[in-house]
């Protein structure tokens, strides 16, 4: 588990100090994946670098499994680093070493003897699906393969947490998928806690349980992805849910128009059809669509309702567990 409490960090800028982190508090539960997102310059990398013990915060605490790491030095610091696997931003492999040699580096640092080291390297290469590339040099690997080797290296010393800063930037969608699969596997098979910095919402969509939105060095949103998407006002919802095209002409035909967010198999599959039979209203899908957050199907539809009991129908939908976000027509705020 990673706990970040009230972290502040500023850098000396030309016109006075630049505040990169302004009282950031976060928690990543053991065995879960947190995505840190936010606009450029928000402080995401600074946060990741502080947790990776590459940058010393001005104040605040960073706890990994309960131990505060901020004040450590020397040997204690190096030992603490082995608890934290890091996939740095950009190309970080040794170009003069083979893939296997790169994965072995943390084991050498930890003083693991040769035969044991080779076994462990083989295990990790298997985990990231690159056993056949053991003898290849980084320049003979694709970007995605290099990144997977970097993940294997980060996992080599058996850390309890894994940090990755933009692990998929500069990768195409397919390759991104292969890197995310590896991260997901690390969590599933090793029970590792993951903090991933990204600007790519596909990363959040695919592997994150929780998300934290950073802006100007502050956390402006933090919670479970599935909770946040149900909140109409959240940035997470805005960026993860299917977009809805405006279609005023179609909407004008209905008595009520609302945006409905449905989370989970049951809701997505059954809720809307049931409305029609239960309330005798005509219900049409005007826009939106279906997506998947990790394993969970999630939908946002714009629905148009026609019939006397349209308001009751909307109320029932929201009581049944879906979130009805806006009533675009008719009395506002029928259900929230």
């Amino acid at each position: 588990m990673i706990t970040v409490e009230n972290l502040t960090k500023s850098f000396a800028g030309r016109t006075g100090p630049v505040v990169a982190l302004d009282g950031v508090s976060l928690e990543v539960q053991a065995g879960t994946v947190l995505g840190v997102v936010g606009p450029s310059g928000a402080g995401k990398s600074t946060l990741a670098r502080c947790v990776a013990l590459l940058e010393r915060p001005d104040s605040g605490a960073i706890r990994v499994d309960g131990t505060d790491l901020v004040s450590l030095d020397g040997t204690a610091l190096r030992a603490a680093r082995r608890q934290i696997g890091v996939v740095p931003q950009g190309d970080s492999l040794l170009r003069q070493r083979t893939a296997a040699g790169n994965v072995a580096l943390p084991l050498e640092s930890a003083g693991v003897p040769g035969p044991q080291r080779r076994n462990r390297v083989a295990e990790l290469l298997d985990l990231v699906g690159l056993t056949d590339k053991a003898g290849s040099y980084p320049d003979q690997l694709s970007g995605g393969q290099r990144q997977r080797i970097a993940v294997a290296r980060a996992l080599a010393a058996g850390p309890s947490v894994l940090l990755a800063d933009e692990p998929t930037s500069a990768l195409d969608p397919d390759t991104t998928g292969s890197v995310l699969t590896v991260l997901d596997r690390a969590r599933a098979e090793l029970g590792i806690t993951v903090l991933v910095v990204t600007h790519d919402m596909a990363v959040v969509r695919r592997i994150c349980d929780d998300v934290a939105v950073l802006e100007d060095g502050r956390v402006v949103e933090h919670g479970k992805v599935l909770d946040l998407v149900s909140d109409a006002a959240s940035r997470t919802a805005a960026s993860l849910l299917p977009a809805i095209d405006q279609n005023p002409l179609a909407e004008s035909r209905f008595d009520r128009v609302a945006d409905v967010v449905l989370v989970g198999f049951a809701a997505v599959g059954a809720l809307l059809p049931e409305v029609t039979s239960r309330f005798g209203v005509e219900l049409n899908l005007l826009g939106g669509g279906l997506t998947r957050l990790a394993e969970t199907p999630v939908a946002r539809f714009r629905v148009g309702l026609k019939g006397e009991r349209a308001d009751s129908a909307l109320e029932w939908i929201s009581e049944a567990g879906a979130s009805v976000q806006r009533t675009l027509k008719g009395p506002q705020g029928v259900a929230a």
Binding site: P88, D91, S109, D139, R153
Partner: protein, 227 residues
């Protein structure tokens, strides 16, 4: 004008002088490399953004290094006579040249090495830091190992530079190819010796350059050198 020196004599002169040059240059480069690499490592470690940033120490070390580099070799050759006598018991002869030659080349190697090490990408170094590796291990396994091809090339450059400096060895009776060209060829108007030496120097330099470039390529695991 006397008659031209017979080719066989020119050949003998070249053989002797080549032996002296290779001895002076070889030993000096070796010493300069052994001493210069730590200087370069230290410069890089203490540099701003290095692994152990110590700006003041870095500046001081950099200043001394650059001072050493800008010192004309002739001055060093003469100024270090006392030191040479202390180390070797004599301040003239081929061996005696090795002391100033080595010392003169240390700052040269130091700067070259620092420049090369600074080329290792920050992300690569930081990745090693996050594995909990000690500074010594990072220097060895990351900085120096990743730079090996460039370092080999730098040693090649150093050999050529030292070869150039060694031409002045004649001042303290060091001999060698440069001395042969200057004293026998130039000052005694012996054109045959002069041009033969010049041609031979060109060959030697080219071979050395080629050898080091080749060696650097052989150890390089980056794409352009798929061995």
């Amino acid at each position: 004008m006397r008659t031209a020196t017979p080719w066989s004599t020119v050949f003998d002169m070249l053989v002797d002088a080549t032996g002296e040059t290779l001895y002076m240059v070889g030993v000096s480069t070796l010493v300069a490399t052994v001493l210069g690499i730590p200087v370069g490592v230290w410069l890089q470690l203490t540099a701003p953004g290095g692994l152990k940033p110590r700006p003041l120490l870095h500046k001081a070390l950099g200043f001394i290094t650059d001072l050493g580099r800008s010192m004309p070799f002739v001055v060093l050759l003469i100024a270090l006579t006392a030191l040479t006598r202390l180390v070797l018991g004599s301040s003239i002869g081929t061996s005696a040249v090795i002391v100033p030659l080595s010392i003169g080349a240390v700052p040269f190697v130091g700067r070259l090495v620092q420049n090369i090490l600074s080329e290792v990408h920050v992300a690569v170094v930081e990745a090693a830091v996050t594995t909990g590796a000690s500074t010594l291990r990072i220097v060895r396994s990351v900085l120096l190992r990743e730079s090996l091809p460039a370092l080999i090339n730098a040693i090649g450059v150093t050999v050529i530079a030292v070869l150039g400096y060694s031409a002045m060895a004649g001042i303290i009776g060091g001999g060698g190819l440069g001395d042969l060209a200057i004293r026998e060829g130039y000052q005694r108007f012996n054109d045959r010796v002069l041009w033969a030496t010049v041609a031979w120097l060109a060959v030697v330099t080219t071979v050395i350059q080629f050898g080091f470039t080749r060696a650097a390529r052989v150890v390089d695991r980056r794409r352009h050198a798929s061995v």
